[in-house]
Amino acid sequence: MTGRGISRREFAKSAVAIGGVSALAACLDRSSGGTVPAGIDDPANLPDRQHAWDDALATDDAGNPQMPNHHVLLLLDYTGDGAPTEAHRTQVEAALRSLERAYEWSNEGLLFTLAYGPAYFDRFDSGPAGVDLPTPEALAPFEDPEPDTPDALLHLASDDERVVLEAEEALKGTTDTANDHEMDGSFDGVFETAARRTGFIGAGLPAENQDVDGIPDSEPVPEDAPLFMGFKSGFKRNQASEDRVTIEAGPFAGGSTAHLSFIRLQLQQWYEQDSRDQRVSKMFCPAHAAEGKVEGVGENLGTDSGIDECPEDVVESSRREGVVGHAQKLSGAREENSPRILRRDFDSTDGGEAGVHFLSLQQSIADFVETRRAMNGTDVSENSAVGQRVNNGILQYMRVERRGNYLLPPRSLRALPPADPTQ
């Protein structure tokens, strides 16, 4: 017990999920005290892309960039009516630059992005120049998501729980310092928090956090699994590169688009009814199960999920096998042999439910829509024994509850950008 109303057990599980100054204070008390590397003196030297994370991330043994372990998403509403004021812009930029001086731009320090939704751009005469930013909609006949409509989306990520908690409080203005650096400003009076979401990714964390709805009491999540479903994902060669997801032309060149969905997981059948071979068939492809290609959580796969060795004609393969793999279907969404989206998703226990905050970056929201279309496997279902969800990848075990689309501007335009920066 820390004496602050949070039990040790709860705390150990969910300091980031709990959030706020008390969780931060508890976290600082409890921390074994490693120092967090400080940031850069002149933030102007950081890459122009807010989403330039790969070079700042650790890599695993195979060379895959590893997402930071802890994440906070803040859905923010701008407090002003109409177009943002210069004063507010200056305030937001000052706050973000303070974070960049406080924390190293890395997984050991802090990585963050600030993106804007269609609702934000409604305050201007037209949408963001040169970028198609649709309002979110259902992307499968069998889903019925609530649209997320905040003005902005802030993503904070670090391997250190203290960092995401402290950066959040510093931005809210509830603490004056971050990593012992003075803050030159905060979001106070500019942004209000409409929703707060949190999560984690990395070996051990899902097993530690599996006492939630959606995961059976048998505690089936493997100790070394980086995600609740028990397999590694985000292999380097199954991801779009940062270049591939970067907007190439127009005033927002150097930016990207983000899609954030919240997906609930229901893994009782997955872990207590499906066999290991069935799980491998559904996550990767039936050939991987037949050939025993996936060991444990899939570390042995290296830098790709081996999808080139799954039959390329997804419908034909599904007709024969009666089951189709999630990764196998996604191979159909490639363009010029590259995946279209860069996954930056992580698991969640928000609300006491097992879930995924599926955050992905792509050049255009259309790239996400196309990728999701492939994952739906509707063509497979219509032409084979595979059901629309049964035996159709992992669709039986998940439900999309929320969706939101965002423009992730280049760093130079991240503070309350105008819809047309050329004007």
Binding site: D213, Q278, G322, S384, A385, V386, Q388, N391
Partner: protein, 349 residues
């Protein structure tokens, strides 16, 4: 312990008897050892379970009936493999959802499936997508075992997805959208334990099937007699224990000039339960020429029922037809069906 409970427990293994009377009121007593040397065919299971009504409601275009029985083992199917799902200690019951057309009473196997959320006092007790299943006495339904949180009232919400099977005839334009409904279910252990339960120590394993249950409120799935299919019956054929009936329709409102329709209805032996979620290929030869060679896709029609079909550019009177099973029905199975319908035969009509 009343007499019924005692009888129910009569077939249990020593281990669960040792667990005491408490154990008799739970699931573990309702699963006699599986038949040894099960045939690769429909067989008479070790026992039959009765069924209780949990609720019924209209959900969009659909009617949904919820029933329950003792938790039981079942088998999921991927490809040609059936994997046994064991009863968990925590399982309270086997919950089943039947979906049908309120106008015709036809049971609809919707491959997009059904989601069921079980709640109590606003707390989620279970939330999953039950398996599409066939059982000898229930026919086609969606089912799974559920662990409830004791006796009392539960809210069970069911969402039936829109169909992506082809809908023909009077079904055209219907069942395209999802429907949702919530029913209240008062779960009482005594009601569950009073459901019929009968073992067949003498006849289990024989090549036979339990009779389809006749219920007042809920229709069971049954394909038409082959002779009652519309069009010209090209023939019937036995596959991996399942029966195929091929019909050739030269006249139907959904056909254009010069077109006919090949319908292949696949059903279980004995009970004529339609078998959905198969991959079938078909070839049609007329006057010595191949006029069709492609996939047959799942469809429903008021007179044909659930079937696999294709529109063929031919008006030949009696073509010769070959049907290849590429993948057997990917529906889960109750006991007595888990070793049947797993082959990939080729058939000629």
């Amino acid at each position: 312990m009343n007499r019924r409970q005692f009888l129910a427990g009569a077939g249990v293994t020593g281990a669960s008897l040792l667990a005491g009377c408490g154990a008799l009121s739970t699931q573990s007593t309702r699963a006699p050892p599986l038949v040894e040397d099960r045939p690769d065919a429909t067989y008479r299971p070790t026992h039959r379970e009765g069924m209780g009504m949990a609720g019924m409601a209209q959900a969009g275009d659909y009617m949904v009936g919820l029933t329950y029985s003792y938790p039981h083992r079942f088998w999921t199917v991927t490809g040609t493999t059936a994997e046994q799902v064991d009863i968990r200690e925590a399982d309270s019951l086997h919950l089943m959802a039947s979906v049908w057309d309120p106008e015709s009473g036809m049971v609809l196997p919707v491959s997009a499936g059904v989601s069921i959320a079980v709640e109590r006092d606003g707390e989620t007790v279970a939330d999953k997508q039950p398996w599409p299943m066939v059982s000898q006495n229930m026919g086609f339904h969606y089912g799974d075992n559920y662990a409830l949180d004791g006796e009392g009232v539960y809210q069970i919400s069911v969402r039936v997805e829109g169909m992506n099977e082809r809908r023909l005839g009077a079904f055209e334009g219907r069942f395209g959208d999802a429907g949702e409904a919530t029913v209240e279910f008062d779960f009482a252990e005594s009601a569950l334990q009073s459901l019929a339960y009968e073992e067949f120590p003498e006849t289990q394993g024989e090549r036979a099937a339990l009779d389809l249950m006749q219920m007042d409120m809920i229709p069971t799935s049954r394909a038409p007699e082959a002779s009652a299919l519309p069009g010209t019956l090209l023939g019937t054929s036995a596959g991996a224990d399942e029966t195929y009936a091929a019909s050739w329709l030269r006249d139907a409102p959904f056909l254009g000039d010069g077109e006919s329709y090949l319908a292949v209805s696949v059903r279980t032996p004995y009970n004529r339960v339609p078998l959905p979620m198969m991959s079938l290929g078909g070839a049609v030869e007329a006057d010595g020429e191949t006029v069709f060679d492609d996939a047959l896709t799942a469809a429903i029609h008021p007179d044909i029922g659930y079937h696999y079909g294709a529109v063929v550019a031919s008006t030949a009177a009696e073509p010769s037809v070959t049907v290849d099973v590429i993948a057997p029905p990917q529906v889960s199975r109750h006991e007595g069906y888990e070793t049947a319908f797993l082959g990939t035969p080729s058939l000629s009509f």
